[in-house]
């Protein structure tokens, strides 16, 4: 049986209860994954049931909801199924299973979580702010995983005096810090008027980037391993007037 969720945590937990005793269950939030011949139920979120499931799971492992939050943010299409297998094992073992790394389901979940947290760490470095005329900072990004709001605490603690917007252009939403509070909002497109000196700083950064490289030691493969090309799009060092390799 396929249990189709709406992608939310509540819907997942509701599906979890329904699917638990079905060892071959497939839990998914993406209808494109449907395979022919299998029965499908659409699971809408049921707050009471979800709360019950959550309480139960927390009694086995007090940190498990953090795992769930990260798993459901993953950009992998099989994320609900990975989470389902992991939480099923937790419910069967009735104790934390995080360290059972020889188990396939735990391994899958832990790798999925690692990808999400690794991307957060990477983005702490790769985010590029543009300075707007008002002094607020704007960063467009397109992360693999649904993590914009998880980036806020990092930037808020280092730039407390600057309002900023982290815009996930793929998911069309933005995490906003207005100088006091943070919130998440849908955002289709942003109109940003740049500050008078923004272009000049970008140009200096491009100059710096080019000058600090040692061309005799080109190791592009390694460079792209550390910083995959899909992140380059929003980085001014790659939108230089001249091609960056010259």
């Amino acid at each position: 049986m396929i249990y189709l969720t709406d992608g939310t945590k509540e819907s997942f937990l509701t599906a979890f209860l329904l699917a638990f005793s079905d060892g071959d269950a497939l839990v998914s939030s993406s209808p494109t994954q449907l395979s022919l011949g299998q029965k499908t139920v659409f699971v809408s979120a049921d707050a009471a049931r979800a709360a019950r499931a959550e309480e139960r799971l927390l009694s086995f492992d007090k940190d498990c909801m953090n795992d769930l939050s990260l798993l459901l943010r993953s950009g992998m299409s099989g994320r609900e199924q990975i989470a389902f297998r992991y939480f099923r094992l937790l419910a069967l073992q009735k104790r934390p299973v995080r360290d059972m790394l020889a188990d396939e389901d735990v391994l899958c979940a832990s790798e999925c979580i690692r990808k999400v947290t690794y991307e957060i760490h990477r983005l702490h470095g790769f985010v590029r702010f543009l300075e707007s005329a008002s002094g607020a900072l704007y960063a467009p990004l397109s992360p693999d995983n649904d993590v914009v709001d998880l980036l806020v605490p990092h930037f808020r603690s280092r730039l407390p005096e600057f309002p900023f917007v982290l815009h996930d252009v793929k998911r069309k939403k933005a995490a906003v810090y207005d100088g006091k509070n943070t919130f998440l909002a849908p955002l289709e497109q942003a109109e940003v008027v740049l500050s008078a000196s923004e272009q000049a700083w970008q140009t200096l950064w491009q100059r710096y980037y080019k000058s600090v490289n040692i061309p005799q030691r080109e190791r592009l493969k390694q460079m792209k391993g550390y910083m995959p090309v899909r992140y380059w799009k929003f980085m001014p060092e790659f939108s230089s007037r001249e091609p960056f390799l010259t």
Partner: protein, 416 residues
């Protein structure tokens, strides 16, 4: 705002310093901009595969010293430029605000005199910390022979300081960097280590080099062996409590009869970094890693080489071996060793388990058993053959992940 021309010259003069790490400081934001990121953070990568974490720049390239290997030495015919403390501070702030960098790595040629230069460096740091209320990372390269009081003052504003040993022996230093001496480099390092200890003991307010000290030496410009370099490295860690020792393989930018004309292979630098990791994270001593008058083998990583010299200790059983021993197995790095420790609490590990856990077994299988089973080659010659196969120069250069920041490293290299 600094102009592009000077930025280019001052950056090109600083880029051969290998250190770019921004780790080790937990400096808090107390109003203003910035904070420390203890794990360190890479903001970009250049086509040479190195991480950009800090704005690495010289205050000036106008030098009164005459180090033979240096493009900025007194005798060199190059354009001379300097930046003002205000220009450097503003550049740092505007780059930091846009999240281009994690902080500043400031060094300088010896302009006019050591004290004049050091005073300008300190002024820049004070401007950043006091006026701009900047709490991001600052690494300052100390100027040899500068006044002790200035050095002490700098340490109250910097997160990390470094004096570069430059060359791995006093003789080479005399020959190639005549105005520097062992004392002019080691004395301030020792003094800073002592001051830092006093600072901690007396629990004084503020911070004093929270990310400690590092150093760097040029490999291949002078005749010292890897065995000597690894011993020197160990004594710097033990005696001066340094956080990191960096190696920079010699790139000839200057022609001098005292210097080799060819660059040193990246592979040698890579092997030294591997040896350095063995010292810092794997519990090895310099004496175990390489005989004093020898270089590290190029066809094998130093852990493999050690294991082959100590085959009587292997194979070890992964279900029982203590952490220290797991870490000595070729191919098993810190992360894999931890995974094994965790997983074996729940189940008796087999080879299939290890494979599933993504423990790289290519090298390790010759040195372990899993639930009593051995999958390695039978004879020492066969093991040696299998270990060296594929470790060609080119291959190993691609493996050279070590010149980048510590964080990227721990994520990507764990396995040694």
């Amino acid at each position: 705002m600094i102009d592009e021309r000077r930025l280019k010259i001052l950056t090109e003069g600083a880029k051969y310093d290998v250190s770019c790490s921004s780790s080790g400081s937990k400096r808090k934001n107390t109003g203003g901009m910035g904070n420390g990121y203890a794990a360190g953070c890479c903001h970009s990568f250049t086509p040479d595969g190195r991480c950009i974490s800090l704005l690495k720049i010289l205050m000036s390239n106008d030098c009164v010293y005459n180090c033979k290997y240096c493009p900025n030495r007194l005798d060199a015919d190059v354009p001379r430029v300097s930046a003002s403390p205000e220009e450097i501070a503003q550049l740092t702030i505007d780059f930091y605000k846009r999240n281009y960098i994690e902080g500043l790595f400031l060094s300088s040629a010896v302009e006019k005199s050591p004290d004049y230069t050091m005073e300008r460096l300190v002024r820049t740091l004070k401007l950043l910390r006091n006026q701009y209320r900047f709490h991001g990372y600052i690494h300052l390269k100390g100027i040899p022979r500068a006044d002790e009081a200035l050095i002490h003052e700098a340490a109250q504003y910097a997160d990390r300081m470094s004096y570069n040993i430059e060359l791995p022996s006093e003789r080479s230093l005399k020959l190639l960097a005549p105005q520097k001496s062992k004392e002019s480099l080691l004395l301030p390092m020792r003094k800073l280590a002592e001051d830092s200890a006093v600072f901690k003991e007396e629990k004084r307010k503020g911070l004093f080099l929270p990310a400690g000290q590092t150093t760097q030496m040029i490999v291949g410009a002078s005749p010292e062996t890897d065995g000597q370099i690894v011993r020197l490295t160990q004594s710097l860690y033990r005696g001066l409590g340094l956080k990191r020792v960096y190696y920079s393989s010699y790139v000839p930018v200057v022609h001098d009869s005292l210097l080799p004309d060819l660059p040193v292979g990246q592979l040698r630098e890579h092997r030294l970094y591997q040896a350095d990791w063995l010292l810092r994270f794997y519990g090895f001593t310099a004496e175990e890693i390489a005989p004093e008058n020898e270089n590290l083998p190029l066809d094998l990583d130093p852990k493999c080489a050690w294991a082959l010299r100590n085959l009587q200790l292997f194979p070890v059983e992964v279900n029982r071996a203590p952490l220290e021993m797991l870490l000595r197995v070729p191919g098993i790095g810190g992360r894999s060793a931890q995974k094994i420790l965790q997983a074996r609490r729940y189940t008796h590990l087999t080879f299939e388990h290890l494979q599933k856990m993504r423990v790289v077994l290519k090298r390790a299988r010759h040195f372990i058993t899993a639930s009593g089973k051995f999958y390695g080659a039978k004879s020492e010659t066969a093991v040696r053959g299998l270990l060296t196969a594929g470790e060609t120069g080119e291959n190993a250069t691609q493996l050279s992940l070590f010149s980048t920041a510590e964080t990227a490293l721990s994520a990507l290299t764990g396995e040694l």
